[in-house]
């Protein structure tokens, strides 16, 4: 299997989450989550999606981590738009991966099937800049599978994404992000 940079980041992040895994403790992981963002600016809408969101949840610590390679996003209006977005705004060559790593505030019984409204407190890293965030989401646990969905806003200023004044009407000050993914139990 090909090892993608986002997987390496994820494993590093999970290690950083003080995972004290014993043989019995299981992680929930997934590699095919959907992440979608939308920038609704006056002159241009930029919208794209990736189906290569990686994620992991450690039920023992309530730890949770996600990562996505920026070049896996597709669905831009045009290849020009994609290139502008990736290179001018996100500087994807320099910062190829966006990550979030944190901890679920609520107590979730992962073994019990059910639906939980959760908030995750953690660090969001986009464009190489980390900000602490509280993100609301929903977690559904059923038969060894966990489904997670969330939506949140990313004010581009918080991540030092600088937009030349000329282009300020082409990208929104706040980008809205939605994620949705299924994580499987892995021993």
């Amino acid at each position: 299997m090909l090892i993608r940079p986002s997987d390496i980041v994820l494993s590093v992040m999970l290690t950083g989450m003080q995972l004290t895994l014993t043989a019995q403790e299981a992680l929930f992981t997934g590699k095919t989550g959907i992440i979608h963002f939308k920038s609704d600016a006056a002159l241009e809408i930029i919208e794209a999606e990736s189906t290569q969101l990686s994620g992991a949840i450690n039920p023992a610590t309530n730890g949770i981590a996600f990562s996505v390679r920026l070049n896996s996003f597709h669905g831009f209006n045009s290849s020009v738009q994609r290139e502008h977005f990736m290179e001018n705004y996100m500087e994807a060559t320099k910062f190829p991966v966006a990550t979030f790593t944190g901890k679920i505030i609520e107590t979730v019984s992962f073994a019990v099937e059910g639906q939980y409204d959760i908030r995750v407190k953690g660090i969001l890293n986009i464009h190489g800049v980390s900000t602490e965030r509280l993100i609301q989401g929903r977690l559904v646990s059923s038969r060894g599978v966990i489904e997670v969905s969330a939506s949140f806003s990313v004010p581009i200023k918080e991540h030092d994404i600088n937009i030349p004044k000329l282009l300020s009407q082409k990208i929104a000050e706040t980008i809205y992000v939605e994620i949705e993914m299924v994580l499987q139990k892995t021993e």
């Binding site: 901890k103 505030i105 509280l134 609301q136 806003s153």
Partner: protein
């Protein structure tokens, strides 16, 4: 110098009183809400008291409890935290983590933020100096909202624990959060800063239940059990730990600056800690609170302490006054000693009273006193008590040796009852009965062989002032005197100077006097009430019943540390705020029902507290350092128009039909809600203020105009300077009273009249035209018919007929008859406007008969009307037939057929003929057809239709269905 002294025998019969404490009143709570658990109490900047209960948020006005509903009918949320931010928005947090903000317009509104809200109990809100909003939770640590983002502080960030009991703001703008593991001192400026304060730092216990800041920004920290620590934020350390094993678990705390901590406990009632004498004592006055679980305490802006306990009651007490019943005969004088004891003189003895370590007052009678009835007392710098008695003159008591001293050598001192005395600067001033005012210079401790030098003061000008009710110190080591008859006097180098008689009416008798902080002397006289004497301006000013004084029967006046004047009288105690001339009344609410005051039985202790002796009661007054509200806070709560509540912050213009106004207001005076009275006026409607006890004012059928509703509340029935609440609004004129409408209406009328006139003229002109047309038509018809040509033709025809019918004279006779009929018809119908179709047909047939005699079979007339009814102008058909005959060739080879029929809807009569024009055109004025068209224009909406083709000529004449 020799004195006689008496040895007292140790024989102490100590009696226990109760605790001296503020008088608690249980606030009645509506039965409908009696089941509620009150979690907390809060007062906003408008003075409104809010209660967080197990079933939501309540406002308490002192008399009414008002439920503030949650949005979306969330009803049973338990409110666990209340806070008002700097903008005046009230915040409410619940047991399950919901957060609401409140304003008058929208009510409670759910707080929505992207990060979502906590799911655990909200334990506190705070706004720091940077405008950041902090939220304490029990289970999720601290949150801080920067204005854009919500951040969380929990154990992962170094917080000692996620269960936060209490949060508080210190003088340096930091947030203090009390947990089970100590205090976290937190701040946030993009980075989280947490400083722990734990047992290692001197905290007496790791569990911190309550933290409050004093005015300096230093912190009082209560531990779970028994202990309270004081943290100095300048020194950044705990500087004091106080403790009492009896307290138990502490739930809440509040602080009267430089005076007292109030401590609520979990099942052990309320405790007080005096910062003056560093003693804890339990509040014992209310049975229900003795073992209560206290949920919250509040110090309100009037100086009341509020206790919210698990008993579902609210108790309040006005903190400045404390009372104690002491049934030891009739108290006549009291004296606070520097040893925290109180000397009490009655009409039959001399007592010592003191508070034990648990706050219980004890007393015992000092035995072997050489007098029975005490009039006045004062303590000297050696701790000796100088006693002015009524039966044995001046005496001294030395508490250390428990010995009495009398002055047998000095007849003056022995025999003369002493009414008033004070000691200042080693000088004892005496007001005696019989010997006037004496000044005694003391050298050394009198009980240790000290000396006395007595001077009897005489009045300048020779007058005698034997009777002086009170002496008080005057600056320059002199004395002010309250004389019986001579008014206000003072001493000056062994003389008495009497001030010029004041303009104050009545006998110039002064019973009691005091001076405020600004050099004014206040005294009372039986006829003028309370009088202020301005020393600099040498002017008097009286405040009597009309100015708000409650009773003329004053027994003592005394000033407090703020320069306010306490007036003790038979109805209670009034406090006068001199610069505002505002009196506040106290009686039942501080536990004084029917007080029995005693002349000048008042004294001050070393801390500035005022002690007041009533006949059977002691009252202690402590001026609070806090700026207290002295007036009820008046607010307009709701305005409804036509019985519907309106947003009166926004709306102040109403249409004319919205003229039924109801104003709901409240005067918040929690010290004594029942005494609140209102005065209101609707400027623009009322001529004068109206007084009312009700919180509603209703006005119906208000006329248009500008109004201003003003209301003020008073707790003492006087409305001189009470703050106002007001609401200005305007009812607009009904639309028909506006200029634009009047102008428009006038225009309309003018236009209508103009139209009418114009129509009338047109109608007249039409009638005139019609008449003219008619006349012309008749004239034309006549002219046509008596046209010599026609007559000539007719006569020729007649001749021919006669020739052809010589054997049959009936034929020419018939012809002549028809001719005559025809002319008669013309004469008959010419006056009519319209004739019926059959009549016209008859006429046409007559005419046709005449023509037929000339043209024979070559002219045909087909009439097919199918009984069509209606009217047409006379001679119309005849004229059309005549035209047809006139303009067309009629011969055997070219016969002319004229058809008269009605169209299918019987709307028109149609006269149609085949067209075969004569080669030589008959000269025509075209008058005939045009005349028909013109007449129809006048009498009918429908027009005459003329259709001409190569083959035929067709004229359709509208049938008139009804004539007039």
């Amino acid at each position: 110098m020799r004195y006689s002294f008496l040895l007292t025998i140790f024989f102490l019969a100590i009696s226990r009183f109760h605790a001296m404490e503020p008088h608690f009143v249980a606030r009645e709570i509506d039965e409908a809400y009696a089941h509620l658990n009150i979690n907390l109490i809060f007062q906003d900047h408008n003075c409104m008291i809010w209660l967080g209960t197990s079933e939501g948020l309540m406002q308490f006005t002192g008399s009414r409890l008002i439920n503030i509903p949650f949005p979306d009918s969330l009803s049973a949320l338990s409110v666990t935290s209340l806070y008002e931010d700097k903008k005046g928005t009230l915040w409410a947090g619940t047991k399950t983590g919901q957060i609401f903000h409140y304003d008058v317009k929208q009510g409670l509104v759910f707080w929505k933020i992207e990060e979502g809200l906590p799911k655990v109990r909200i334990t506190g809100f705070l706004e720091d100096a940077n405008g950041q909003f902090w939220i304490g939770t029990y289970g999720e640590g601290l949150y801080v909202y920067s204005g854009a983002r919500l951040y969380n502080f929990n154990r992962d960030d170094g917080l000692l624990d996620n269960d936060i009991y209490t949060i508080s703001l210190d003088g340096k703008g930091r947030i203090w959060a009390g947990t089970d593991n100590g205090v976290n001192i937190c701040s946030f400026n993009g980075k989280k800063q947490i400083r722990p304060l734990t047992v290692k730092d001197g905290l007496p216990d790791q569990i911190v239940s309550s933290i409050i800041a004093d005015l300096q920004g230093n912190m009082w920290i209560t531990s779970y059990e028994n202990d309270i620590a004081y943290y100095d934020t300048d020194k950044e350390q705990i500087t004091e730990v106080i403790s009492d094993a009896g307290i138990g678990q502490i739930t809440c705390i509040t602080y009267f600056e430089d005076l007292e901590l109030w401590i609520g406990t979990e099942g052990n009632g309320i405790w007080r800690y005096s910062t003056e004498n560093r003693k804890f004592k339990k509040v014992r006055g209310v049975e229900a609170l003795l073992n209560a679980k206290v949920n919250d305490l509040l110090k309100d802006v009037e100086g009341n302490i509020w206790v919210v306990s698990e008993t579902n009651t609210l108790h309040t007490a006005f903190r400045p006054f404390e009372t104690l019943n002491i049934p030891i005969g009739n108290i006549q004088s009291i004296c606070a000693s520097s040893q925290e004891q109180l000397w009490i003189g009655t009409d039959e003895g001399f007592y010592k009273a003191w508070e034990d370590s648990s706050g219980i007052w004890l007393h015992h009678r000092i035995p072997n006193a050489p007098f029975t009835s005490v009039a006045c007392m004062s303590e000297d710098e050696f701790g000796n008590v100088w006693i002015g008695s009524l039966d044995n003159g001046l005496c001294v008591y030395d508490p250390s040796t428990q010995r009495f001293y009398t002055f047998e050598r000095f007849e003056n001192l022995r025999m003369n009852p002493v009414i008033s005395l004070f000691i200042e600067n080693q000088t004892l001033w005496l007001a005696t009965l019989g010997r006037g005012v004496m000044k005694i210079h003391l050298t050394g401790d009198i009980t240790q062989g000290g000396d006395m030098d007595i001077t009897t003061l005489s009045a300048n000008g020779g007058g005698s002032h034997n009777f002086v009710f009170q002496v008080i110190p005057k600056e320059g080591y002199e004395a002010w005197l309250a004389t019986d008859g001579a008014g206000l006097a003072f001493t000056q180098r062994n003389h008495i100077e009497v001030l010029p008689r004041s303009t104050i009416e009545g006998p110039n008798t002064i019973y009691s006097l005091t001076h405020d902080g600004s050099g004014h002397i206040w005294f009372n006289t039986p006829d003028s009430g309370l009088v202020e004497y301005d020393v600099d301006k040498n002017s008097y000013r009286a405040l009597s019943i009309d100015e708000g004084l409650r009773s003329m029967n004053i027994s003592a006046v005394v000033s407090n540390t703020k320069g306010e004047i306490l007036i003790v009288h038979n109805k209670g105690i009034d406090i006068l705020i001199p610069e505002k001339r505002h009196f506040m009344y106290f009686d039942d609410e501080i536990g004084l029902e029917n007080p029995m005051p005693v002349l000048n039985a008042v004294c001050k202790d070393a801390s500035g507290n005022i002690w007041i002796g009533l006949r059977d009661k002691l009252v202690k007054y402590s001026a609070l350092r806090e700026d207290l509200s002295i007036h009820p806070r008046t607010r307009i709560e709701h305005v409804s128009v036509n019985q519907k509540p309106i947003d009166f912050y926004q709306n102040n213009r109403f249409p004319a039909h919205q003229n039924f106004f109801a104003f709901d207001y409240v005067g918040l005076w929690y010290t004594s809600p029942a005494s609140v009275k209102y005065q209101y006026i609707l400027e623009g409607h009322d001529l004068d203020w109206k007084e009312s006890h009700d919180h509603l004012a209703i006005y119906s059928n208000l006329k248009h105009g500008k109004y201003n509703f003003r209301v003020k509340a008073s707790e003492n029935k006087f409305f001189y300077d009470e703050p106002l609440a007001e609401y200005a609004f305007e009812i607009r004129k009904p639309f028909w009273q506006y200029r634009w409408f009047i102008a428009l209406a006038t225009l309309c009328v003018v236009f209508l009249v103009y139209q009418y006139i114009k129509n009338r003229e047109a109608r007249l002109r039409r009638i005139e035209m019609l008449n003219k047309e008619n006349i012309e038509a008749q004239f034309r018809a006549l002219k046509a018919q008596i046209n010599p040509h026609f007559l000539f033709n007719s006569f020729n025809t007649l001749i021919t007929i006669i020739d052809e019918n010589t054997d049959n004279p009936n034929v020419p006779i018939e012809y002549v008859q028809k001719l005559a009929d025809f002319y008669r018809s013309i004469l008959q119908y010419r006056e009519e406007e319209a004739i019926s179709i059959p009549e016209e047909i008859t006429l046409v047939k007559n005419y046709y008969y005449l023509l037929q005699q000339r043209y024979g079979e070559n002219l045909r007339l087909d009439v097919d009307l199918n009984g069509t009814q209606g009217f047409i102008p006379p001679l119309t058909l005849q004229m059309l037939v005549e035209n047809a005959v006139k303009h067309n060739v009629i011969s055997k080879s070219k016969p002319l057929t004229i058809k008269i029929h009605s169209n299918n809807k019987s709307e028109y009569l149609v006269v149609e003929n085949n067209k075969q024009k004569k080669l030589s055109e008959v000269p025509s004025t075209k008058f005939g057809l045009q005349s028909i068209i013109n007449r129809y224009e006048v009498i009918s909406d429908k027009k005459v239709l003329v259709e001409e083709s190569n083959e035929s000529f067709k004229v359709s004449i509208p049938i008139i269905k009804n004539i007039f």
